[in-house]
Amino acid sequence: MSDAADDVTRAHRDEWARLVGSLTRRFGDLDVAEEAAAEAFATAVARWPVDGTPRNPAAWLTTTAQRKALDRLRRESKRDVRHQEALMLHDGAPEPRGAVDDDRLRLIFTCCHPALAMPSRVALTLRLVGGLTVPEIARAFLAQESAVGQRITRAKAKIKAARIPYRVPSPDDLPARVTGVLAVLYLVFNEGYLASGPESDPVRQDLTAEAIRLARLLHGLLPDDGEVTGLLALMLLTEARRAARVEGGALVTLDEQDRAAWDGALITEGHRLVRTRLAAAAAGTPPGRYQILAAINAVHTSARDARDTDWSQVVALYDQLARLDPSPVVALNRAIAVAELDGPEAALAIVDRLAPALDGYHPYHATRAELLRRLGRRDEARAAYDRAIDLTGNTAEKAALARRRDELR
């Protein structure tokens, strides 16, 4: 019996987005699609253990969900003649198989539309593409279930009322729109990677795993998009270090991590992706920010020992990133690499110039604290650790910073 339950779980993971996508195209309504897909899976949970798993679960789910959607539309169409007409147009239309992958892409672009607020895009993508339930999303972001439910309902209402189109953007708009989708996935990943809540576990593996799953899906759909490849590689190479990142409730910095605990399979996969982008760059396609960040992570994960890190390569990559994105946060990260290459004094000079922009940003104070500590300026270092501890919300980071500070007593 538990086999059938596993089958439902697997089908949910593999088929949810496809199902919601094709239902949305067929019925022109996200709400109808979401509800019918959810009902189809609820029926599967009840029926498969009794009747056995159908030979073709995807086809069974599609048929069941379409019947649920038609039932709902027929109920509603008693009040609305136009619906009835729409039904007659669509009922029984054959499924063009080649359009299925496009359906998932359409769904992703609709959920991540720039006319929706970022938290709405995140919630909608996790629900409609990821198949997470509202309680799961609420737990992940430490939000009230009712607030998340309302956010999703309002977003769907806006999509319908303002007629946000259900289609893949035109080639002209595609790069900008892909960037918007990647921002949503990266936000989900980062919230998992460095969870911000005081009540939250420091690393939320459910969120990093979901972000990677969505990035894999997007990479499968847009295999030639360099930035999609870059973001997937960046996530994999970051996730590969997860087991070594937290020890005894405190974050472990990159140089002190037990590299034997890194996940070799993820690193191999990430490096392979980075190599495809290096080849494209060599052929004249300049890399975007995610590709450069992935390359930086590839340099780190190529070193068997922290001392073997090719810091000149890291600094060169940050130089490239800074040309693309001259933000103070990039300058800060570059300074960390400069400290390894040219020493802490050179790095501190760069960091101090960033004070006006980054005074409220905890990594700024944490970086300064480390540099001051290496320069033997202990009192200033302690004060900087205190500022960083005050500003960070992540429990494991607080613990790690407090330990570093207390070593200076």
Partner: protein, 107 residues
């Protein structure tokens, strides 16, 4: 599908007022491409009067229904197939008018 397109001006930081020729040319294009339904510039918000006859007596109030730093300077009604089409036009309209634009669908 029709959208109300509002041109929003800012009392503190008003847009340039030499936009008329550009707006006329933009209107010509809206007409030629089949988007134009209606357009109208509005007199200053101080010229507004609010009527409220929900109670026993009709009440007249001098001025706009809400006092704010930003106010409606003019409106369009556009016909467009979907939001993406409208947003593309609105992006241009904002440059042409040198003002913020709000896009809102009709029911």
């Amino acid at each position: 599908m029709q959208y109300l397109v509002s041109v929003i001006d800012d009392r503190v930081n008003p847009g340039r007022d030499d936009r008329e020729p550009l707006i006329s040319a933009f209107n010509e294009r809206l007409i030629a491409e089949g988007h134009w339904v209606f357009a109208g510039g509005l007199a200053d918000a101080a010229a507004a009067t609010v009527v409220d006859n929900r109670g026993e007596q009709p009440m007249l109030t001098d001025g706009p229904f809400v006092e704010s730093k930003e106010y409606l300077a003019g409106v369009w009604i556009w016909e467009a197939p979907d939001l993406d089409a409208v947003l593309e036009l609105a992006t241009e309209a904002s440059k042409v008018c040198d003002r913020k634009i709000e896009v809102r669908p009709f029911l």
